[in-house]
């Protein structure tokens, strides 16, 4: 069952992510994917994540697809103009890669080539419309395509953004621009997330809650301070600070969150951020280890 089929059938979906290597050695990325085989519906492949140059997403997706995994091609608008983005999308479709996640992308200033020219010829909302046009058999300029892709396209939303109103309005714009599903920024406060889901439910789009497993109180504080749109509540930080085994408690926190929200959203997106080995543990503890086929 593909990610699209899972979400469209209403089954709770699980996605995770892998990052392409800096270099040509894809073995570690494939190892990570292997450990999750059969336990996730799809694997996002990041696109020069955090504006740090790595092996290209499309090539990484092809490696994964050749091994029988289902990749989600993350597409940012930072490094490519509209010609390049469209041709990469067509290239992906030609390999049967049809899950796309449309992002604007972190600024080049944030990454390891801060001197680069940032492109941003398009941005997330416009990119969603471009994918829609390709799905309808034309490019952005209205020229006909020979061979039409069938992309299943998603976007991201930050339920804990401050202020939240412009973020919610942008969420609505992304739905209007054709987003089929959303993967959220990491969320920790289930009550506030459920509040967001009430708004989200008035729109026709699937929402996968973003999960990042906390490994220590320090990590939680670091994320609060440095990652836009992430708020780890004080109670959770205290819980981690007093834990004997903070990683185990971090997993418990993630599982508790998943249990609190699973009836209100359509799935979870588990981001490993450097601790890929924890993803199976979370899925197992949350009773999500077996993905029905």
């Amino acid at each position: 069952m593909s990610l699209r089929e899972a979400l469209e059938s209403g089954r709770f979906a699980v996605t995770s992510e892998v990052g392409p290597p800096k270099g040509t050695d894809v073995s570690q990325m494939l190892d990570t994917a292997e450990k999750l085989r059969g336990h996730v519906d799809a694997l996002n492949v990041t696109d020069n994540q955090a504006a740090v140059m790595r092996l290209c997403t499309l090539a990484a997706c092809v490696h994964l697809a050749q091994k029988g995994h289902e990749p989600v091609l993350q597409v940012t608008c930072r490094d490519r103009n509209r010609l390049s983005i469209q041709s990469d999308l067509l290239g992906a479709a030609s390999f049967g890669i049809t899950n796309v996640l449309a992002l604007t992308g972190d600024h080049v200033i944030m990454g390891d080539h801060p001197q680069a020219k940032a492109v941003f010829d398009l941005e997330s909302v416009q990119l969603l419309e471009v994918v829609g046009a390709l799905n309808n058999g034309t490019d952005m300029a209205g020229n006909d395509l020979s061979g039409t892709p069938e992309f299943f396209v998603g976007a991201v939303v930050t339920p804990d953004a401050h202020p939240i109103e412009p973020q919610l309005a942008k969420f609505e714009k992304k739905v209007r621009a054709g987003a089929n599903y959303f993967q959220t920024q990491a969320v920790y406060d289930s009550e506030s997330f459920l509040g967001f889901m009430e708004t989200a439910r008035s729109f026709d789009a699937k929402v996968l809650a973003g999960i990042v497993v906390l490994r220590s109180a320090g990590m939680a504080r670091f994320m609060n301070k440095n990652i836009p749109g992430i708020t780890v509540p004080d109670a959770i930080i205290a819980e981690l600070a007093s834990a004997q085994d903070p990683v185990a408690v971090g997993i418990e926190i993630a599982v508790r969150f998943i249990n609190d929200v699973r009836d209100s959203c359509d799935g979870v997106h588990i981001m490993a951020v450097g601790a890929e080995h924890l993803v199976p543990r979370v899925l197992d503890a949350a009773g999500l280890w077996e993905v029905p086929s």
Binding site: T104, M110, F120, Q126, E129, E165, A169, K173, Q185
Partner: protein
């Protein structure tokens, strides 16, 4: 106005030490307002250069003058550069370029041209316009996202916004400001209209503009 800033003296020295007699030409419009190319700054720069070049044991003479506006031929006609073997222009890039095309000696820039901006206070300016050739301020409540959003986004704040600040950390998020101002005027609905990708061919083709051809005069 065009906001400009003086280059480091060392960089300017490298231009002028090859010459004998250098004329510094200020510009009494934007560059003077930006405290970088008015009469006072021309005199001061001449002093600085005398000092710097004499330390390097090279003998260059510097004199200074100021034009009303360097980007108009009418004012350049008033310039007497007889006897100088180089000119140091203390104007924006447009002034440097026009001056360079109207004299037979090398013209060097003493300033860096930063942006089209507005004064924020005494001696501080903020970029407000990128001269995109197709103004969007009508739908963004007078705040330019092409200029003030680090990514030039046309459809609302990105995920990098944090407490109303841009992910770059050096400015307010333009889209939070736009949203708030639209809201204040009861125009929140307009925020939901999707802005189509910018037509960059307009900008690419905008190298000259003739008001006569447009039938304006």
């Amino acid at each position: 106005m065009i906001v400009v800033r003086q280059k480091p003296v060392d960089e300017i020295c490298a231009f002028v030490t090859r010459h004998r007699r250098v004329l510094l030409v200020g510009c009494n419009t934007c560059a003077a307002v930006a405290l970088a190319g008015g009469e006072k700054e021309v005199d001061l720069m001449a002093e600085l250069l005398r000092l710097a070049t004499s330390r390097k044991a090279s003998f260059v003479e510097f004199s200074g003058t100021v034009l009303t506006r360097q980007c108009e031929p009418e004012f350049l006609e008033q310039l007497d550069s007889e006897g100088y073997d180089a000119i140091l222009s203390m104007a924006c890039g447009a002034g440097v370029a026009l001056l360079a095309s109207s004299v037979d000696v090398p013209v060097y820039p003493a300033l860096d041209t930063l942006f089209i901006g507005a004064a924020q206070g005494l001696a501080s300016w903020e970029a407000e316009c990128s001269a995109c050739g197709q103004c969007v301020l009508g739908r963004t409540a007078g705040i330019c996202p092409i200029t003030r959003c680090a990514k030039g986004i046309l459809n609302g704040p990105c995920g990098g916004m944090s407490d109303g600040r841009c992910e770059l950390g050096d400015r307010d998020c333009a889209w939070v400001l736009i949203f708030q101002r639209l809201e204040k005027f009861g125009r929140s609905e307009e925020f939901l209209e999707i802005a189509e990708p910018k037509d960059h061919s307009l900008r690419t083709r905008l190298v000259t503009w003739d008001a006569h051809e447009d039938g304006i005069r």
